[in-house]
Amino acid sequence: MDSILTLLIFFPFIAGMFGFMIDQKSIRAYGISVAFIEFALSLVLWFGFDSQNPGFQFIEQFPLIPQYGISYFLGVDGISLFLVILSTFMTLIALIGLTIEKDVKNLIISILFLEMTMVGVFVSLDVIIFYVFWELSLVPMLYIIGAWGAKLRIYAAIKFFLYTFAGSLIMLVGILYMAYLYYQATGVWSFAIPDWQLLVVPFHIQLWLFAAFFIGFAIKVPMFPFHTWLPYAHGQAPTIGSVILAAVLLKMGTYGFVRFSLPMFPDASIYFITPIAVIAIIMVIYTAMIAYAQEDMKQVIAYSSISHMGIIIIGTFAMNAEGITGSIFLMLSHGIVSGALFMLVGNIYDRRHTKLMSEFGGLAKVMPKYATIFGIMLMASVGLPLTIGFVGEFLSLIGFYKVSPTMTFLAGTGIILGAVYMLSLYKKSFFGELTNEKNKNLKDLNKMELASLIPLVLLVAYLGIYPKPVLNPIDNSVKNMIELMEKKSITKEAKELIKKANSIEEAK
């Protein structure tokens, strides 16, 4: 058990290496088995996790470059635990739903590599190790988008890579400076996140560092106006690429905010609440509008992802347990829901080789199961209560309401606009008369597709109704983090805001 995190990270990698020995025919079964074992491992992690303990667990640490304070340092807390499980789960699901035939071996091996990097990002407690996985995750994704994508795939892949890479390099400078500050303060080199979280950084430096980290994370999230790579990436990527991109890779950015920006630079985070909230609101409204204007189903969902990420950002910067817990939960739910939606679009694309809504209409008639599942996911996406989407969205908004009612209201329009574009998508594709001849003989979902989607449906319902087992550990860790933030914040405004954000106004 002690080395379970290492196992979690490197099992898919090693399995991927062995994958080269397996022939094209059986590689899919192999991939699914590996992903399943990995998922089982992550469940073992969950069962071994003490949800009452808000700190890091399953810690593994040994020095890698002691000269410079870099060590191999892993651990999970409530915040990262479920993101790890999400990664392994979505990989498994995506592999089950995989329908690509061309060069499938390379694809599956890339996916397994990607899984390594995703898990790695979430369990690293050393910033450099984090950064390594963070960057490394781009490579398999580049390959996946570029090799199996649509017409503009190369442009999309390069754009994705360059954009995120550029952002994270700026972040690297921030990381190095933070390490230097730590060294100055303590005389010891360290890149360990828990160490850094204890360091009190002077306010004006916080601002700069926050900005440096912000660029890295904002591009990954992606926040307006750094979001334009995403529609291309999603639009061109194969289904499995979109699923993993939306479900997990985007979460790295928001995870970064929670893991780095908030606890390390509490004052700066608070100082920047307003601009960031404004950006988030723009993300919510603006991309929701763009989503409405789309002609391609996948693009709708791609833009909707950005819109939802806006809510996550809002929740993260609520500075209270409600908002942050909510935003982390929303990361999970968005992962599942958008992943499912992308898979659904993939299913129809496999049948018709087009994603244009104008090509469809009345699909509910010929593909009732498909329409049902799509409908469920749609409702989860617009945040209907008792689906997974509601819990996080509600908590995020309620959390941020304490910070700014007006901005919460504006961000809340997302629930309206979300309904607008999603319903119009649904209407255009599933409702109406079945006019297109090509659609008249479409087959409904087959067993493999159902096998990949039904678990998601069940999760959507289960976690929507009973989110407690997930919320609880998250909440514990978040509360712990907020306490830390309050303790180490230096400006008066920040201290007050954290205090205020976390207290119910006493009824007079």
Binding site: Q67, E135, R153, V173
Partner: protein, 495 residues
């Protein structure tokens, strides 16, 4: 009247000369063998060269004791040992690249190997002295041999490359000696260490002359280190010479140049002559950026790598601007890592080299050549991709650690903006590395014959590439021991 000369052998510290002597005698032995028996196989010479290099390396690494030797002309301090080790390592990796499966003109000359050994000894002299005379001679020895080696590839383009390199080298030599002259006029000595007290005593007055001397030296060394605007030879020369030699050139002469640059500029920077820092800062920034954006538009991989190596040189030059111990350590760390990756990348090109140009009427290695390599030759594509990623600084491959440490050094010394510019440049640079990756992985193959990429391969070449690959991947294990050694040496030599 003159005293009779009486010097004790012990005081000469002959050991300081031993490494170079080994190589010079090695070169002579090769020449002699050729005189005795003609038409011996190149394998013999390759192996002999490796043996001499090994001996040399042993001598270098085994060196202990007094730092100076031979009337204080020789200076074997930490950075000298480090750089010699890098030079020798690179040479040992390079020379087996002669063992191609195809026949190339230059390797039919035993003199090629002799010249090669002489050249290395030249670079070794260059780094193990602080006497401008010896530095100059070492530099010229190395350069003259190098010009010849380039020309021996025996193609029109290699002649053109050699002539260009030579001509500019001659001008740079003029600059170097002019700089030396001014320094000599100012201080009355040609030894860097002895200049310092004189200059300090004069309070660096007349500053114009000091700065002018530095300008000449920057121009001369900038030529060697291919800093903008003295870099113009680099792409042409790399293009004209064989891929193997180009890879070698991107590593070895530059590390020698860096050592000289450290010796010359560092004391000025430490003496708070901010002008030097500013000027170098500017040059570094321009070099990184300009070469990066020019690399973007290249059509040929080798030429792209040439620009990339200019950019890397600019990157490393930043270490000299920063001037802290950490920065200087980072310089060597970076260069060690760069050595393996870059040589690996050039070796990959070398492996895929055809005798005639079948892809493009000018280039041997246009991007299109690598289209769809992943489906034809997956392993090769992965390895090449790995080198590209490493050069771009994608973690955890080798150069990332170099960049990390160097940028860390910049940040720690307060050069935040420099670090940011370095970061942005890394971001720009990823594009052209990625371009090759994109061609290899994402484009459809033009031909289906896998062997086209390994036309020139042999076990030796594959071994070298394999070795580079392993080092590139597992660099993170190497960093700490390397850093310990490098920092110790750099500290010991007072930089």
């Amino acid at each position: 009247m003159l005293e009779p000369i009486s010097v004790s052998i012990a005081s000469l510290n002959l050991a300081t000369l031993a490494p170079m002597l080994i190589l010079i005698s090695g070169g002579l032995i090769i020449l002699c063998i050729d005189l005795i028996a003609k038409n011996l196989s190149k394998q013999l010479y390759v192996v002999l060269s490796i043996l001499f290099l090994l001996l040399d390396l042993g001598a270098v690494l085994g060196y202990q004791g007094a730092v100076r030797g031979f009337f204080d002309v020789m200076l074997v301090d930490g950075i000298s040992i480090l750089s010699q080790a890098i030079i020798l390592f690179a040479s040992m990796l390079f020379i087996p690249l002669a063992l191609t499966s195809k026949r190339f003109h230059e390797y039919t000359f035993p003199e090629y190997f002799a010249l090669f050994l002489f050249m290395i000894s030249g670079f070794q002299f260059m780094v193990s002295s602080d006497n401008l005379i010896l530095i100059f001679i070492g530099l010229e020895l190395g350069s003259l041999a190098l010009y010849t080696l380039i020309a021996m590839h025996n193609r029109d383009r290699s002649f053109e490359a050699a002539i260009k390199y030579f001509t500019m080298g001659a001008m740079a030599a003029g600059f170097f000696v002019m700089g030396a002259l001014i320094l000599y006029a100012l201080t009355g000595t040609v030894e860097i260490a002895k200049m310092i007290p004189v200059l300090e005593a004069r309070n660096y007055d007349p500053i114009v002359a000091v700065l002018a001397a530095v300008s000449f030296l920057i121009a001369a060394l900038g030529f060697k280190l291919s800093q903008v605007p003295f870099h113009t030879w680099t792409p042409d020369v790399y293009e004209g010479s064989s891929a193997a030699l180009a890879g070698y050139m991107s590593v070895v002469p530059k590390i020698a140049g860096f050592v000289v640059a450290i010796r010359i500029f560092e004391f000025l920077i430490h003496a708070n002559i901010v002008w030097v820092q500013y000027v170098l800062y500017t040059i570094v920034v321009i070099t990184m950026t300009l070469s990066n954006i020019m690399a973007l538009v290249q059509q040929d991989v080798k030429r792209m790598l040439a620009y990339s190596s200019i950019s890397h040189a600019g990157f490393v030059m930043a270490a000299i601007v920063i001037g802290t111990t950490q920065a200087n350590s980072a310089l060597f760390l970076y260069w060690v890592l760069f050595l393996f990756t870059n040589l690996g990348a050039f070796a990959m090109l070398w492996v895929s080299r055809h005798k005639s140009k079948i892809w493009h009427d000018r280039f041997d290695h246009p991007y299109t050549k690598f289209s769809g390599m992943i489906s034809i030759m997956p392993f090769g594509a992965v390895v090449m991709g790995l080198f590209m990623m490493s050069l771009a600084g994608v973690p955890p491959f080798s150069l990332f650690w170099g960049k990390l440490y160097l940028m860390g050094a910049a940040v720690n010394a307060g050069f935040i903006w420099l670090a940011i510019i370095m970061a942005i440049n890394s971001a720009i640079s990823i594009y052209y590395y990625l371009k090759l990756v994109v061609y290899m992985f994402l484009h459809d193959p033009i031909e289906n014959e896998g062997t086209i990429y390994v036309k020139n391969a042999s076990t030796a070449l594959k071994t070298i590439i394999g070795f580079s690959t392993v080092v590139t991947i597992f660099a993170f294990l190497l960093i700490n021991p390397l850093l310990e050694i490098i920092t110790a040496y750099v500290k010991a030599s007072g930089f």
